[in-house]
């Protein structure tokens, strides 16, 4: 099957016990890292937006900001692919509970923040980005489907793309359904090959099949069990270990095979 080639110019990460890819590498080496703040700082957002933004927006903006800063790119020039398996589950819980008890009292702000593209909407407003932007989901395969879409944009449009994959923890009766017990977010700036500094070159190929089970040290296994966005660890762990291959699910019967090369 045909393949795609992109370079990874920046990576962001926010997990229960790690901030950024360097923390992940230390955890994999058995070194303790400082726990991140309870609330993602999301420094890219203007202060007034940061105060009122729902958790899904803060998490996405935090990891996006890390990745863009590392890439050295202007955020306004990056097409945006934001993926989340469940959207803002706190707002879904609020909406459904309010609709069940007092439907005419739904908050207009919570309603417009409930759209799946709220994080990318706030991000593009904060960064002044007029490029194509999208919000996707694909159950447990949101990371692979989003990476495939981002790589397609890079290859077809020859432009840099910001990929964000994040889910917040669930609250209320939906917890039993969604199984999100913790927050996890990651972001990558992916771009066509160029002379710019990069973290890795990534070759992608699609093939039928399943990527198989993962076996990672604590706490990574708990992240993966507790948040669908943590399926991104299927690429992040090999990147942190400077491994040469990775596999992730791009759909229920479709696997994304990845080859990794690192600059000297």
């Amino acid at each position: 099957m045909s393949g795609l080639q992109v370079t990874i110019e920046g990576i962001g990460l926010w997990a229960a016990q790690a901030t950024g890819l360097d923390d992940l590498a230390r955890l994999l080496d058995g070194i303790d890292v400082a726990a991140p703040a309870a609330r993602p700082p999301a420094a890219m957002l203007p202060a007034n937006e940061r105060r009122r933004a729902p958790e899904s927006v803060l998490l996405a903006a935090e990891v996006a900001g890390q990745a863009v800063a590392q890439s050295g790119r202007d955020a306004a020039e990056l097409a945006c692919v934001f993926t989340s398996s469940h959207g803002d589950q706190g707002i879904t819980d609020y909406l459904c509970a309010t609709l069940a008890s007092a439907p005419t009292e739904v908050s207009p702000t919570k309603f417009h923040n409930s759209v799946h593209n709220a994080p990318v909407g706030y991000w593009t407003i904060a960064s002044g980005c007029h490029a194509a932007s999208t919000a996707l989901c694909a159950h447990r395969e949101s990371f692979g489907a989003g990476l495939l879409e981002a790589a397609c944009l890079v290859a077809a449009e020859r432009r840099p793309v910001l990929l964000v994959c994040s889910d917040v923890a669930t609250s209320g009766p939906l917890t039993e359904m969604a199984g999100c017990t913790l927050a996890f977010g990651t972001a990558m700036v992916v771009a066509p090959a160029s002379g710019r500094p990069s973290l890795a070159r990534l070759g992608l190929q699609l093939a039928p099949g399943h990527p198989g089970e993962v076996a990672w040290p604590a706490p990574l296994q708990a992240w993966h069990d507790g948040n669908p966005a943590a399926d991104a660890l299927r690429l992040l762990v090999p990147l942190a270990r400077r491994a040469s291959a990775a596999v992730a699910a791009a759909g229920p019967g479709l696997t994304l095979h990845m080859q990794l090369e690192y600059p000297a």
Binding site: S2, C137, A156
Partner: protein
Amino acid sequence: MPDRIAPLAVSAFTTTSALGHGLAAHAHALAGEVSGLRPNDISSAPLPCWIGRVDGVEDAPLPADLAGWECRNNRLAWLGLGQDGFLARVEAARTRYGAHRIALMLGTSTASIGATEEGYRRLDADGRLPADLRRPAIHAPHSLSAFVAEALGLQGPCLTVSTACSSSAKVFANAERLIRLGLADAAVVGGVDTLCDSVLFGFNALELVSPEPCRPFDARRRGISIGEAAGFALLERVDAAPGAPQLLGYGEATDAHHMSTPHPEGLGAELALREALARAGLAADQVDYINLHGTASLKNDEVEAALVGRAFGERTRASSTKGLTGHTLGAAGILEAVLTLLALRDGVVPGNAGVQTPDPACGASFAWQTERRELRVALSNSFGFGGNNACLAFARGGATA
């Protein structure tokens, strides 16, 4: 501006909305300006407004082997897939290309959240969703595409686009990239959104819902009427279906202005339009018809009328069809893409239904009544919350061969 792309064949398409099930009902309603709007009879508590409700969804359960996906949104998807021989066309494509080589890209705004809402109305004594609704796959926004993938037996790239009211327009772009890059040979695109409390009471809270049937581009318009719809299209390379209508191009752009209000100068909408024309290799004066987003909200129609006025001459005809269907939100992109394809096929410019007094801001392009003329090239606009804009360009079957 982006480079010109090779067109794709739209080798099969169908839609189901308040206007009826399948293409014939829609062509009939377009030609006669027959509205499908009715007084709201679906919300769980009273809300005086008008809706575009699809008849028969309640009487169309899913087949037994798909029963785990039961909910109104997936029922409407299945009802829609069953029209116009679409299932057989997908089956033929699957035989020709293989299940792994057909992408499935669907748009939805709220997917099956109606089932989640119902669960919250019927929480059990322990505060859990009732047992019959404890089905995790329907309580996530990918419910629609995962259901359709299983129903159609497709195993290629599969995702859900959820960018509010531009969702099921943008899927044409996702699919075009996959086919251009050789990652798929064909794609099923489309979208489904169903009426539910979230959207009725949510848009009501934003004071965007009209108490009367919506009147897009009317000087005294009072807001939107919400509808529901399903629509699907099969995209293939042109040589696989040489006489079929074609997707010529698309544009996607972002306002970077406000979560629920369009950019006052229509910046993102105009960028999406210019990109669509560039990918299609068209000049504005080659466009015969534009199906407008035209929601009947004060701001959208003001901004969009100004864009039509500055980008097109009067030979380009323009209208909104939401006075017939209501605003079907995440399904609006595919519903209106199909209505645009019907306009091209039949040589019918749909009249801008619902208007009593045209807004004086609307220029000579606006078709206030149905017109019959040869149409070769047409656009469809779809704009969503978060400043998310999409524009699609289509050609009539045989028009560009």
